[in-house]
């Protein structure tokens, strides 16, 4: 069926032309693009993407797309909540190199519990969970640089 690049192009067209929705069904595959704008902006893609700072799968181009698909995702994935970085800096999973990570995938966290540290200008900023639930995914690697708004954790609310 459609390749990713083609699908992206399709989404772009849907968004640019502000079409309500597009559905494609073929060989048991169903694609539905809901054109209602979730938030901002069309996405950037392809070969021209700047050698972005961040090597995580999410970052600059990605995020825009994600914002768009969140509504769908929540339905599909059972209402995940994403904890994003409130500052620019370096992501640490543990308070120091010898210590165990604050949280692992599968851990139960309570609201206000420290999930990680983001270091900026020599300051260690503790990032707390704003929801109680189970950690489903940790997005950045340890010691990876993170941008403002970048996804750090996915949590399934309790």
């Amino acid at each position: 069926m459609l390749k990713l690049e083609e699908l992206c192009q399709l989404i772009r067209v849907v968004a640019e032309y502000k079409v309500g929705s597009v559905e494609i069904e073929q060989e048991g595959v169903r694609i539905r693009i809901d054109g209602s704008p979730v938030a901002a902006t069309p996405l950037l893609t392809g070969s021209l993407a700047p050698a972005s700072l961040v090597s995580a799968p999410a970052p600059p181009p990605g995020q825009v797309l994600e914002g768009r698909s969140e509504a769908t995702r929540e339905a599909d994935e059972g209402g995940l909540v994403f904890v994003t970085s409130p500052i620019v800096g370096t992501f640490y999973r543990a308070p120091n190199p010898e210590a165990a990570p604050f949280v692992e995938v599968g851990a139960l966290v309570r609201k206000g519990q420290v999930l990680c540290i983001v270091e900026a200008m020599k300051l260690m900023n503790e990032i707390e969970s704003d929801v109680a639930g189970t950690v489903v995914k940790v997005f950045p690697d340890n010691a990876q640089a993170v941008e403002f708004g970048q996804r750090l954790f996915a949590i399934r609310p309790a």
């Binding site: 993407a49 700047p50 620019v88």
Partner: protein, 448 residues
């Protein structure tokens, strides 16, 4: 030496700095707010970091975020562009304290020129003329009349605490001054709880002229001639040109010497601009901008010097490229195209649904627009600079008209029709300019 420059800005100036960095062989880091994710500067830089939400205060003005972005990308220098943090001496200091190179003047020079009263004192001690007036609040009508006689009428009374026209009076002679003094004092007293007045020479048709300065770390400082920036609306420049129709080579030499003297007095390096008021053959120091200016391209067009590239060279510890003040060749005009209603001047955010840039000789477009770009409502409304060059002023004007007539922008309102009108004004064509130029042009508009 520099190797990777973080550009702490957005829009066309971010593109302009990235271009200069490319030419200089430097890697670049763009920073951007969430509203600017799809901006060209993000695409064009080698790396990009989102530093905050749309609000400028939380992103482009957020010093900690900008510095953190430099840290995580390994940038070793910061170019501030114009606006935002460009004249924030504290930011410049933080940049330097973090071991990064500040691509701008020494923080001390920014501070000294940033305090307007101190800047005027600096001008005076450097022998640069300022607008004559009272240094301290006037103590009596009699003192006011004596001082006005010394300065020469007309003069203007202003409230020390004031603004918005309250306590302000333009007077043409001693009799009128005597008459106005108490009324103005009462008005000021009522408006501001402070009746202190001061007095200054009044210019009824001043021109805004400015001199571009470049200075390296080795004591070489040159002026790149003047720019005429009299066409302003509420202190926002709309049209700039070089040379000025009123400046001959003798005056140019005087103004350049004065600008250099003022800049030297604060140990200035990098690129900056000394602004003057000019009327009836006299020029008066107003202030110095310690950064690259929006209108720098007109000077580039008539001198051939790449001013941003020179900033990079200077910051890298290289000597200035040009060895002496270059002659001004031909004539250049810049038109600042804003996303705004050409009649009401209300900002016009929205999506650019159609776009065609002008082609042909003598036209340079510095713009971050593309078809589909959404002009965000959060920042200033400049969307493109049209810079034209001609062998003489009439040719530059013709090319400017051609450029505007062939600049297609759909989806947002722009100032193009307003600029187009300016280019037909007899006073503009005759080079009869003053900061009052637009007052006359806008007055009939109010009635329609």
């Amino acid at each position: 030496m520099l190797s990777k420059v973080l550009i702490a800005n957005r829009g066309e100036i971010a593109l302009r700095v990235i271009a200069a960095c490319r030419e200089a062989g430097l890697a670049t880091v763009a920073v951007h707010s969430e509203a600017d994710r799809d901006s060209l500067h993000v695409r064009l830089a080698d790396q990009a970091v989102c530093i905050g939400p749309a609000s400028a205060r939380a992103s482009y003005l957020n010093i900690a975020s900008v510095i953190a972005a430099a840290e995580i990308t390994g940038a070793d220098a910061v170019h501030p562009g114009y606006g935002f943090l460009a004249e924030n001496a504290h930011f410049a200091e933080v940049v330097q304290e973090c071991g990064l190179t500040w691509i701008g003047p020494p923080p001390g020079a920014i501070k000294q020129m940033g305090d307007k009263a101190q800047a005027r004192r600096t001008a005076v001690t450097s022998g640069v003329p300022i607008l004559p007036g009272s240094a301290n609040p006037l103590t009596s009508r009699e003192e006011a009349v004596a001082l006005a006689a010394e300065i020469g009428f007309p003069v203007i009374l202003k409230a020390s605490a004031g603004g918005g026209g309250k306590g302000m009076r333009v007077v043409a002679d001693a009799r009128a001054l005597l008459h106005a003094f108490e009324t103005a004092r009462m008005e000021a007293e009522r408006a501001f709880g402070n009746g202190d007045l001061y007095l200054e020479k009044y210019l009824d048709h001043p021109r805004h002229l400015e001199v571009q300065i470049l200075a390296d770390a080795y004591g070489r400082m040159i002026a790149l001639g003047e720019r005429e920036c009299s066409i302003q609306r509420r202190h926002q420049k709309l049209v700039e040109e070089s040379p000025s129709t009123v400046v001959d080579e003798a005056l140019r030499q005087q103004m350049c010497a004065a600008a250099v003297a003022a800049a030297r007095a604060v140990g200035f390096t990098s690129a900056g601009t000394v602004e003057f008021l000019y009327q009836d053959g006299q020029f008066y120091f107003m202030e110095m901008n310690t950064r690259i200016q929006v209108e720098h391209p007109v000077t580039e067009a008539v001198t051939g010097v790449d001013i941003v590239l020179e900033q990079l060279r200077i910051a890298a510890g290289l000597p200035l490229g040009p060895r002496r003040r270059p002659a001004l060749r031909g004539h250049a005009i810049e038109l600042r195209i804003n996303a705004e209603d050409p009649v009401t001047f209300a900002p016009s955010a929205g999506t650019v649904t159609e776009l065609g840039f002008p082609v042909g000789p003598g036209v340079r477009i510095d713009s971050h627009l593309y078809r589909g770009y959404r002009v965000p409502p959060h920042y200033d409304s400049l969307i493109a600079k049209v810079i034209v060059w001609g062998r003489d002023r009439p040719e530059a004007v013709r090319r400017a008209r051609r450029a505007l007539d062939t600049f297609l922008i759909g989806g947002v309102k722009t100032s193009i029709p307003f600029h187009r009108r300016i280019l037909e004004e007899p006073d503009f064509l005759a080079g009869r300019l003053s900061t009052r130029f637009l007052d006359r042009l806008l007055k009939p508009e109010a009635g329609t």
